[in-house]
């Protein structure tokens, strides 16, 4: 464990602020405060425990001693990764990322396949004047459910008259989840590869589709001099300036779910809401656990790649039940992981989950 992290852990006052707001503590054997206590004393920590963390970041944002518990969990995982004591599916995701530059192990030369669904050409970023890059993210480049997101956003950006380009097969996984799994070596490799590509083509600005990628590119790639934004920030500006208009209408009650990496970790709460409010017919509802208090969907921190041991009620299900009680017909999110986790219980309970861009495609 880096000395600075270890020193901060020693300052933990065991107040329980972390555990009290943790999406996993209470219902699972995971107790983040106890992990800090055990780390202080270098006591043995049962090896399944660190994998419960979803990297939602609530503990780190709120810790009164700035111990950064979620970062300590990454260090605990890092030790397990080093010792090879990790779940098989995690092992696989790491290997895949090493070879194919995406955790699902799909072929790298299919990374740009989504572009075929567009009825217009998107230039390579090097051929654009603005050097503005649309960073696609692995799940949205390969997963059949999420592949529609880059297609939608590309159409919306074109409609709004914003120039952008892509990297196609040259894009590698951003490494956000890889770092959280505890493989900092592989994360650094991915960072180096992507930064090399950005520099080669003179990238000036990045529009990230996934809040997870935005987080890594913006906060964990060091001082790159490249401006990184989430696509909802761009769309919100376009809507405000009148460049993007919605002639259609979406006559539904929609509740917006704040993704952790977009909301509590990046402070982007108002942009997605202002876009949804501009959609004619749409009635925007709110969860009582909204904005900074949004309940994590449990899709982050490597949790997309394996199932934890204990059986308990999923937060996604809690979220869907709550949405139903509020009379929502649609749950909107602006993160592919949230969409994936929320969709199962929602389908079961007759609710629809839509990525924000999907709603917009119905009204332009």
């Amino acid at each position: 464990m880096p000395e600075q992290t270890a020193t901060r852990v020693l300052t933990c006052i065991q107040c329980g602020k972390c555990t009290g707001g943790c999406p996993e503590s209470g219902k699972t054997p995971f107790n983040v405060r106890m992990l800090m206590r055990k780390t202080q004393f270098k006591s043995n920590i049962e090896e399944s425990l660190p994998w419960y963390c979803t990297s939602c970041g609530a503990c780190t944002i709120r810790c009164p001693r700035d111990v950064k518990p979620s970062e300590v969990v990454i260090e605990l995982r890092s030790k397990l990764v080093e010792d090879g004591e990790i779940p098989v599916t995690i092992q696989k995701a790491l290997e895949n990322t090493f070879v194919q530059k995406n955790p699902w192990g799909r072929s790298r030369n299919k990374r740009a396949d989504w572009l075929r669904k567009l009825d217009f050409e998107v230039p390579h970023v090097s051929e654009t004047e603005s050097k503005r890059l649309l960073f696609v993210c692995c799940i949205q480049a390969y997963d059949p459910r999420c592949m529609v997101i880059p297609v939608n956003v590309a159409r919306l950006l074109k409609t709004g008259g914003i120039e952008f380009g892509v990297l196609g097969e040259e894009e590698a996984c951003c490494g956000n989840e890889i770092r959280r799994i505890g493989e900092s070596g592989l994360f650094e490799e991915l960072q180096e590869e992507n930064l090399g590509t950005f520099t080669e083509y003179g990238v000036q600005e990045i529009i990230a589709l996934s809040p997870h990628c935005m987080n890594a590119l913006k906060k964990e790639y060091g001082d790159t001099g490249i401006e990184v934004v989430h696509y909802t920030e761009v769309l919100a500006k376009m809507v405000e300036g009148g460049a993007l208009k919605f002639p259609g209408s979406f006559e539904k009650k929609v509740v917006y779910h704040d993704p952790c990496f977009l909301g509590k970790q990046s402070g982007i709460f108002d942009e997605p809401r202002s876009i949804l409010k501009a959609v004619p017919g749409l009635e925007l509802l709110e969860f009582s656990r909204a904005r900074e208090m949004s309940l994590c969907c449990e899709g982050g921190g490597g949790r997309m790649f394996f199932e934890v041991e204990s059986v308990y009620q999923r937060n996604a299900e809690v979220r869907v039940i709550d949405a139903g009680k509020r009379g929502a017909q649609v749950i909107a999110a602006a993160c592919p992981f949230c969409v994936m986790t929320l969709e199962d219980p929602a389908t079961e309970k007759g609710l629809i989950v839509k990525e924000l861009s999907e709603i917009l495609m119905e009204v332009i």
Binding site: I13, K17, G20, G21, G26, N31, R62, S288, M293
Partner: protein, 557 residues
């Protein structure tokens, strides 16, 4: 020249990493060194006697004390010279503790460094000249900023000691935050009554001018003769003050900057101060469930308030007690990280509150979520390792103290310093807790860090007493380090005039040179550094001293 070198061990502080005996031995070989000794504690009485005895026995005319930093015990060693009729400015302090023994552990390297530091003192001291402390007339008047309990107690004390007092309060009323308190612990007196008593007494005195709804807009001059400009509802007022007591209080923490507390989004979430204001207007069900949260805006690195506000545990207990007394069938749960009921009687008060049935849970609440049926608290009982969600009818946030909103403005007007939390910084936390680094300007009450009512009153009086001690004779002595101009070198460029913060430099139109008004000069040295012709020097700090000190540091030994 007869120089005495005295090297302090400071117990183990210096001795454990500096060869003190070797050093005193070494300096005996210099012809200008008459005596060179080392001693366990030079600041102790026998240590002081050793120095005075040596001065007398050998007729020393230079004294070098190698010990702690000169900021400590400054006057103590000077007084030893005064006692023996030696000019106190022939003393040279050398810091071999803060600048040497505390820095590294290598005995050899440290001894070498200490040797050079002392040598540099020795070379520099050779150029010292006897200086006379300047006597200045001082105004027997004080400017008190802030009309809360601390400022009021300072003003009252000074007024009773026959000093003219100018009290400046930003708001329309005197009394500050205490006026709002219904029952001040532990006396249980009404805050407004405490204030009324002090206010009436002050208003009955004829040597006090009170300016409410007013603020300080300009401040200049020097110790004993400060000129303050005050913006009042009746126009601008200029007053002369010998010194200042700054007692501008604190700002109550605004929980709005911590979104997870839900403050401002639901009327069922209130602060301890809101609760005071609501008083009897508070409407709750017959058997209300009330939560009280400690440490709101205190002990929190995330919002730049890492300190304990000291008053909020008692305030939380007061809130819990009040609810329990008004609603005997209420369920009151108090959530704390650590209970710090520190003032006298505080622990007993905690125990009484427990006896009254208030429950205490060790938890730092993570989220407060208002739902229609109740306000839900998410937290962990850290003694049971149990995560909980509990609903309440009312949530009381025991808020801490933030630095006063105007601390930056006042600090820059008075040229005094702030600490990292933007409270005013004292000159020395133990030895000069009421002073600032500027002579004649004192701080009092919670503007120098969280304090309760009792402490604020005592602090106000203590600062007033110290200021009175400075001014009561109508004259005072100030350091003789003032600038002198060599008119032969002065080119009349007047750059020094721009640099001078004390406005002490005057230009002579006929001779086309500047001169320094001694009474106004603060000896800051800005003009010396600015002068392109090296025409200005500071008495006692001439260039030859600095030049020789540097050569001592670099000399082959």
């Amino acid at each position: 020249m007869k120089t005495g070198i005295f090297i302090c061990h400071c117990g183990h502080n210096i001795k454990h990493t500096v060869d003190v005996a070797g050093l005193s031995e070494y300096f005996r070989k210099y012809p200008q060194v008459t005596v060179s000794e080392d001693y366990p504690f030079l600041c102790s009485e026998p240590g002081q006697n050793m120095i005075t005895d040596s001065i007398e026995k050998h007729g020393l005319d230079r004294v070098i004390v190698a010990s702690c930093a000169p900021s400590l015990h400054g006057e103590l060693f000077k007084d030893l010279l005064r006692k023996k009729d030696v000019n106190p400015f022939l003393l040279r302090r050398v810091s071999i503790r803060e600048h040497c023994s505390w820095v590294g552990d290598d005995m050899e390297e440290n001894t070498e460094k200490a040797k050079r530091l002392i040598l540099s003192g020795l070379y520099g001291a050779a150029h010292f000249i006897p200086l006379e402390e300047k006597q200045v007339d001082v105004n027997k008047s004080a400017l008190v900023l802030g009309g809360g309990v601390s400022g009021l107690s300072a003003a009252l004390f000074l007024s009773k000691m026959d000093m003219q007092v100018y009290l400046v309060e930003e708001t329309p009323e005197l009394g500050g935050r205490v006026r709002e308190l219904k029952s001040v612990w532990p006396s249980r007196k009404n805050g407004a009554d405490i204030i009324a008593e002090m206010e009436n007494e002050l208003k009955a005195r004829d040597n006090v001018a009170i300016f409410t709804s007013s603020k300080l807009t300009n401040f200049e001059g020097f110790f004993g003769n400060y000129q303050a400009t005050i913006d009042t509802p009746n126009g601008e007022k200029k007053v002369m003050a010998g010194g200042v007591v700054v007692a501008i209080g604190f700002t109550p923490f605004d929980p709005d900057i911590k979104p997870e507390l839900g403050y401002g989004r639901d009327p069922r979430i209130v602060t301890t101060l809101d609760l005071e204001r609501m008083a009897d207007a508070l409407k709750l069900p017959d058997k209300p469930r009330v939560a009280v949260l400690h440490c709101i805006g205190s002990r929190d690195e995330q919002i730049g308030r890492p300190y304990c506000s000291r008053i909020c545990c008692i305030n939380a207990l007061r809130a819990a007690e009040r609810i329990k007394e008004r609603y005997p069938d209420s369920y009151v749960e108090s959530f704390y990280m650590d209970m710090r009921a520190h003032p006298r009687g505080g622990e007993e008060f905690f125990e009484d509150t427990q006896e009254k049935g208030v429950l205490f849970t060790r938890a730092n609440i993570a989220e407060i979520i208002p739902e229609p049926e109740g306000v839900v608290l998410h937290g962990e009982d850290t003694l049971l390792d149990e995560v909980f969600e509990r609903g309440f009818d009312l949530v009381v946030l025991s808020i801490g103290m933030s630095s006063p909103a105007t601390s930056r403005d006042i600090a820059s007007l008075l040229k005094i310093s702030l600490d990292k939390d933007k409270f005013f910084l004292e000159a020395h936390i133990k030895l000069r807790p009421f002073d600032t680094a500027v002579k004649g300007i004192f701080i009092a009450g919670s503007c120098s860090g969280p304090k309760d009512v009792e402490e604020s009153i005592s602090h106000g009086r203590a600062s007033a007493l110290k200021l009175y001690g400075f001014l009561n004779l109508g004259y005072a002595f100030v350091d003789p380090f003032i600038s002198i101009v060599d008119p032969k070198r002065c080119s009349g460029c007047r750059m020094c005039e721009q640099a001078c913060v004390a406005k002490a430099i005057k230009f002579d139109e006929d001779k086309h040179v500047v001169h320094v008004e001694e009474a106004a000069c603060m000896g800051c040295g800005l003009c010396n550094a600015t002068c392109p012709s090296s025409a200005i020097s500071l008495k006692g700090y001439v260039d030859t001293i600095i030049g020789d000190e540097i050569s001592a540091l670099l000399e082959a030994m």
